[in-house]
């Protein structure tokens, strides 16, 4: 499904985003940062979940390891962010590769449980690692950056660039040879293998890309929240959002996670400051259950059905018109 030309739209979004940071209140960029974080996580999850058909419950693990990569680098050498981000991508990409290699021989439910177990193992390791603060956590001190209205505006712009990059990558995968292979695996892995698709290799590519992307989503988290500790880094809301956003938006293409993230993310940010933060999980849960039960193809699916329905109606009317002509 192709929307209007992607790159011009992406470039325009970026420019508008940067300009907006000079006019609007800082609060919107703090909220916007979290929405974009959700968008990257959703896009990443969908590469393994929607494109390949393997449900990952351990997203918080990759996200948190991206954050902890930042913490380790900050504690050791405090490098600039353009070093931290690729580092997190590499670490979490390797983590995705390794996790994939260990778990992809399992099918369906067993794979999902294995991913959850992996996240718990990682959390336990971080709780016990003194270098990153263990259970106590680690502080990050940030400094002002030139040109930007505030540090949060700077992080927002970075996140916007990373989000656009992630979506572009997902879009490329969606329509590439690899994407077609992944779709075949999702539809029927055995038939795909027998049709010549190297299923294990493609699945590993999928988990590696997903891991790297989630690591990137987590890399800036310590700078955003200035205090990283295991319980909130590995939090449930991160993992649940990563699944709910694509499922609500639609899992078969790169567009679904974007729609789901923008919608669900905004609702959550609004709820946090107008009602209560705890309600977030409830909202996500209810929406997820609702969509899975009533609209499993997500918003994109509903839109496609609607488009098909209006097309039918138009054709029927044309038929009636020509009949009466």
């Amino acid at each position: 499904m192709r929307i209007a030309p992607f790159w011009p739209l992406a470039a325009a979004t970026f420019v508008i985003g940067v300009a907006a940071t000079f006019y609007f209140n800082e609060y919107y960029f703090v909220a916007g940062y979290l929405v974009l974080q959700g968008l990257i996580m959703a896009t990443a999850w969908n590469i393994l979940g929607g494109f390949t058909g393997y449900v990952n419950f351990g997203s918080a693990g990759f996200f948190a390891m991206g954050a902890y990569t930042s913490v380790v680098l900050y504690t050791a050498i405090n490098p600039p962010l353009f070093v931290v981000i690729p580092a997190a991508a590499v670490v979490c990409g390797l983590l995705g590769l390794g996790a994939g290699y260990l778990t992809l021989r399992l099918r369906g439910v067993y794979f999902a449980i294995a991913t959850l177990a992996m996240a718990i193992v990682l959390e336990t390791l971080m709780v016990n690692w003194e270098y990153v603060g263990g259970a106590i956590g680690a502080f990050i001190i940030t400094e002002d950056v030139p040109f930007f209205a505030s540090y949060n505006a700077y992080l927002f712009v970075l996140m916007l660039a990373l989000a656009i990059g992630s979506v572009a990558l997902a879009r490329y995968l969606n329509f590439s040879r690899i994407g077609r292979g992944l779709a075949a695996i999702r539809d029927d892995e055995v038939a795909a293998e027998c049709a010549g698709v190297p299923t294990l290799r493609l699945k590993l590519i999928s988990t590696t890309v997903m891991g790297a992307m989630m690591g990137v989503a987590g890399a800036l988290y310590p700078y955003f929240v200035t205090f990283v500790e295991p319980v909130s880094a590995f939090s449930l809301i991160v993992a649940v959002n990563a699944i709910a956003m694509p499922m609500i938006g639609g899992t078969s293409t790169w567009v679904g996670p974007v729609i789901g993230a923008l919608l669900l993310g905004s609702v959550q940010e609004w709820t946090k400051v107008n009602i209560s933060s705890e309600l977030n999980l409830l909202i996500v849960g209810v929406l997820l259950v609702g969509f899975v039960a009533l609209a499993p193809q997500g918003i994109v699916g509903l839109a496609q059905k609607f488009a098909a329905w209006t097309r039918e109606q138009r054709e029927k009317r044309r038929g009636d018109d020509s009949a009466t002509a």
Partner: protein, 241 residues
């Protein structure tokens, strides 16, 4: 003597304590029409799973065009030229009929090609199999016989030298069986070797040049259709004493 297309040597496969295949040997010549029959549970499906790579046998060898493929993964064997259809059709249900064929055309092929070229080749195969008018239909919503045809078409799209047809005709009507058989003959005319596994006896007898009969994991007979039909061991295996 030219090497056979497929040479299975003393292949054994166990599932825990159960022996599904016990040192079975068979061979298929280039472009040969080969039938594999036997009562339920005799090991036919296990055999083709071992040939296609879905299962790995514990002992014995599988040689394809002289190359030892015993330890190769299924997708690697497909690329070398072995294709199979599934007894219960397994279409890529999110894709159209045409897109289903484009997958093996892309992945089993020996070199990369442009999308337009693949779509052309896919249409050609659909014409051959009789699904051309359904090319852009969703593969999940086809009739039983069309799904069987799609299975075969997809196997053909891998451009195999050996195609294994696994009970493609089960439950079809007389005319439908003839349709499928017709397609298989056409395919064979192009030089593709075919292993047919069937319970529909008239089809196997009409189609095969040579037949191997399995019973309880062992080969009990081998020969032309006439020889097999008159073989008392075969009759006993199917009907009992």
């Amino acid at each position: 003597m030219t090497q056979p297309l497929l040479d299975v040597q003393e292949l054994s496969k166990h599932f825990g304590g159960f022996t599904a295949l016990d040192q079975v040997s068979l061979h298929v010549g280039k472009g040969e029409r080969f039938g594999l029959i036997g009562p339920n549970g005799s090991g036919k499906t296990t055999m083709i799973n071992c040939i296609s790579g879905a299962l790995l046998n514990e002992s014995g060898r599988v040689l394809f065009q002289g190359q030892d493929v015993t330890r190769l993964k299924p997708h690697q064997r497909t690329r070398l030229g072995i294709a199979r259809s599934f007894q219960l059709p397994r279409p890529f249900s999110s894709m159209t009929v045409l897109e289903n064929l484009c997958i093996p055309l892309e992945y089993a092929a020996k070199e990369r090609s442009r999308l337009a070229r693949r779509q052309e080749e896919a249409m050609a195969i659909l014409e051959l199999i009789g699904l051309a008018d359904k090319a852009h239909d969703h593969s999940g919503g086809l009739t039983q016989i069309d799904m069987r045809k799609l299975e075969l078409a997809r196997a053909m799209a891998a451009k195999p030298d050996l195609l294994i047809s696994d009970e493609a005709m089960a439950g079809l009507s007389g005319s439908e069986v003839d349709e499928i058989l017709d397609r298989l003959f056409t395919l064979n005319e192009r030089g593709v070797g075919v292993i047919m596994i069937e319970h529909v006896m008239k089809a196997v007898m009409r189609f095969s040049q040579r037949i191997v009969v399995l019973d309880a994991g062992a080969k009990i007979a081998e020969g032309t259709p006439d020889e097999i039909v008159n073989n008392p061991l075969v009759e006993k295996a199917y009907l009992g004493e």
